[in-house]
C-alpha cells in the first residue's frame, strides 16, 4: 500500500488541477448590465471586403448556360424549374437573394447600425441585409433578403489562459464566429441561370475571420441552404473575401438588368 500512496497523490492532484482548469470561465459582465451584441463581438467583421473568386469560377463570374446545375443537389422538381429559366432575365434580382448573394463577384461593406444590428451591403446588385441580434419580430412580408437572426458563438475558454487578438472593441479571446439564420425569403436563384430555391428555404451562415501569414485579413462565410421543395440535401458552400483598405473600389450596380 505504501507504494500506491504517491500514485494516489499524483492522481488526486491532477484531478483537482484538471477540475479547476475545466471550470475556468471568462468574468461575467457586471450585474444588471447585459452586454450588447457590439460589445460581445468576439471578432470584428466591419469594413470592406472583396470576393476572391477562385472556386466555382464558371458558375459565379459568368452566367452559366440554361440547365447547367452541376453540383447543386436538386431534386426532380428543382431541375424542372431550372429548365424553365429564360436567359433574357439574366441579371434579375432573384439572383441576389440571401441564399446566393455572397456567391456573387461582389464587394461587401459591413457596419454596425446601433448595438444590435449588423448591416451588410453589396455593390453587386446593390443589396442590403440586416443581421438582427435583438428580439426583432419577423416582418409580415417576405423579401429577397428575408429575416436574419444573428448570434455570436464564442470559443470555449482556453484552459491555459485567454488567447487575445485585436478587434474593434479591444482585445478578445481568439476565435469565435457569427451564426446567422435567415427565413422569410421570397423565391430566388442559387445561381444566375435560374437554379431555384423556394420561399421555404432556410439559410444558415457562419462568418469567420482570420489572418493569413502575409498579414492579409480574410472573411470566410460558410453557407448552408435547406430547401425541401427543390433540394435533396443541404447545399453547402463557402466563400472567402479579402479585407480592403479605405478607398477600395466600390461599384454599385443595380440588379434587374444585366449586371
Amino acid at each position: 500500500m505504501t507504494t500506491l500512496r504517491p500514485t494516489f497523490a499524483l492522481m488526486a492532484a491532477a484531478a483537482i488541477a484538471g477540475a479547476h482548469l475545466g471550470a475556468a470561465q471568462p468574468p461575467p459582465p457586471p450585474p444588471g448590465v447585459p452586454q450588447t451584441a457590439l460589445q460581445a463581438a468576439p471578432i470584428d467583421l466591419t469594413g470592406q471586403w472583396v470576393a476572391i473568386v477562385n472556386e466555382d469560377w464558371r458558375w459565379r463570374m459568368v452566367t452559366p448556360p440554361k440547365g447547367d446545375v452541376a453540383s447543386v443537389p436538386l431534386n426532380d422538381e428543382g431541375r424542372r424549374v431550372a429548365e424553365q429559366w429564360n436567359p433574357t432575365t439574366d441579371g434579375a434580382c432573384e439572383a441576389y437573394g440571401a441564399a446566393a448573394l455572397l456567391r456573387m463577384p461582389t464587394r461587401l461593406r459591413i457596419r454596425w447600425q446601433g448595438d444590435e444590428r449588423l448591416v451588410l451591403e453589396t455593390d453587386a446588385g446593390r443589396q442590403t441585409r440586416s443581421l438582427e441580434f435583438g428580439t426583432v419580430s419577423p416582418p409580415a412580408q417576405r423579401s429577397l433578403q428575408g429575416h436574419s437572426v444573428a448570434k455570436w458563438v464564442n470559443p470555449p475558454p482556453p484552459p491555459g489562459g485567454p488567447g487575445l487578438v485585436g478587434s474593434a472593441g479591444g482585445t478578445r479571446r481568439a476565435g469565435g464566429y457569427l451564426e446567422v439564420k435567415t427565413t422569410q425569403l421570397t423565391p430566388g436563384w442559387l445561381r444566375r441561370n435560374g437554379v431555384p430555391y423556394s420561399e421555404d428555404a432556410v439559410v444558415t451562415e457562419y462568418f469567420a475571420r482570420f489572418q493569413a501569414p502575409n498579414g492579409d485579413e480574410w472573411l470566410m462565410v460558410t453557407t448552408i441552404v435547406d430547401d425541401v421543395r427543390y433540394l435533396t440535401q443541404r447545399f453547402i458552400t463557402s466563400s472567402h473575401f479579402r479585407r480592403e483598405g479605405e478607398g477600395g473600389r466600390w461599384n454599385p450596380r443595380d440588379c434587374g438588368a444585366a449586371s
Binding site: N54, S71, V72, A258
Partner: protein, 278 residues
C-alpha cells in the same frame, strides 16, 4: 504530508497545467466525407487542360502547365503518387481524423489526417516542437505543426515535395508552404488552405473545402502497385514543348470564355474582371 508526497503532488499539478494549453478546444475526430458542391468539375472528373481561372499564378507556373501532358500519369513512376497536402483536401476520398495522446498525462501529442485515395497520411504535431532545419527531407505531406486558435485548429506545413495546385499541370514548388485551418460547425467542417509559393504564386492562394461528418464512416485501404501501361522508349517523358500543346484552347472555346480568363492570374479572381466580361 511528507516532502516526497508534496513534491509529487506539485509535480502532478505542474504537469497538468503544462499539458492544458495543448488540449483541444474542439474535437475533430471522426470520418468526414468531402462535399463536392463547389468546383465539381475540377475535383471529380478532373480539371480541363488550360483552365487556370481565378488562380494567382506566375508566368512560370503557366509555362510549366502548358508543357504538361496527362499521359505523364500513366508512367510507372507517377501512378502511385499521392496528392500533396496542398491539394489532398480538395481530392476525392474519405477523410479520417484521430488523435495520439500521452497515456499518462492525456496531453495531445499529434493529430493524424488520413485521406483514402493513395493513402495520404499526415501527422500534425501538437506538442510545440519546432519545424526541422531547411535541409531536412521534403515529403508529399510535409512537416506539420498545429495549435488551437480558439475553436479552430491552425496548422503550418513546410518541407513539401514539389507538387501541384491543380491536376492539370499547374505546379507548386518545393518552397511552397501552407497554413490550413479547420473550422467546425456541428456536423459541417470548412477546411481553409492558404498556400504560399514564391516560385509559382504571385500572392497566397486561399481555397476552402467542405466536409460532412459521417457517424458511421469507414475507410478501405488503397494499395497501389505500378505497372507498365504504355510501352515507351527508355527515357521518354510525355510533355509538350512551348507553343506546341494543341489542347490549351479547348476549354475556353467549349465555354465561350476568352483566353485572358482561362489563362488565370490574380486579377481574374476579382469582381471587376467579371464586369469586363459582360
Amino acid at each position: 504530508m511528507n516532502r516526497p508526497r508534496i513534491a509529487l503532488a506539485a509535480l502532478a499539478a505542474f504537469l497538468t497545467c503544462v499539458a492544458a494549453p495543448a488540449a483541444a478546444q474542439l474535437n475533430l475526430v471522426g470520418y468526414w466525407n468531402p462535399l463536392f458542391h463547389e468546383d465539381v468539375d475540377e475535383r471529380i472528373p478532373g480539371p480541363s487542360i488550360g483552365d487556370y481561372m481565378g488562380l494567382p499564378i506566375t508566368d512560370a507556373a503557366r509555362l510549366r502547365a502548358e508543357a504538361w501532358d496527362a499521359s505523364l500519369l500513366s508512367m510507372p513512376e507517377h501512378q502511385c503518387k499521392p496528392h500533396p497536402s496542398t491539394y489532398g483536401f480538395r481530392g476525392v476520398g474519405v477523410l479520417r481524423i484521430w488523435e495520439d495522446r500521452d497515456e499518462d498525462t492525456q496531453q495531445l501529442i499529434k493529430i493524424h489526417t488520413h485521406i483514402a485515395w493513395q493513402e495520404q497520411h499526415r501527422e500534425i504535431w501538437m506538442d510545440g516542437r519546432p519545424h526541422p532545419p531547411e535541409y531536412a527531407l521534403h515529403t508529399w505531406q510535409g512537416f506539420s505543426t498545429g495549435a488551437w486558435e480558439g475553436d479552430v485548429l491552425v496548422v503550418k506545413t513546410t518541407h513539401l515535395k514539389a507538387g501541384w495546385m491543380r491536376r492539370n499541370g499547374l505546379p507548386l514548388s518545393d518552397r511552397a508552404t501552407m497554413t490550413d485551418r479547420f473550422h467546425r460547425y456541428g456536423d459541417v467542417m470548412t477546411h481553409v488552405m492558404i498556400v504560399e509559393d514564391p516560385v509559382y504564386l504571385t500572392e497566397p492562394l486561399v481555397k476552402t473545402n467542405g466536409f460532412l461528418l459521417s457517424p458511421n464512416g469507414s475507410m478501405t485501404p488503397y494499395p497501389c502497385d505500378p505497372v507498365v501501361e504504355v510501352v515507351r522508349d527508355p527515357g521518354f517523358v510525355p510533355h509538350y514543348l512551348p507553343g506546341q500543346n494543341p489542347f490549351l484552347a479547348e476549354f475556353g472555346e467549349a465555354h465561350h470564355l476568352p483566353p485572358e480568363a482561362t489563362r488565370g492570374g490574380a486579377a481574374t479572381a476579382l469582381p471587376e474582371f467579371a464586369e469586363k466580361l459582360r
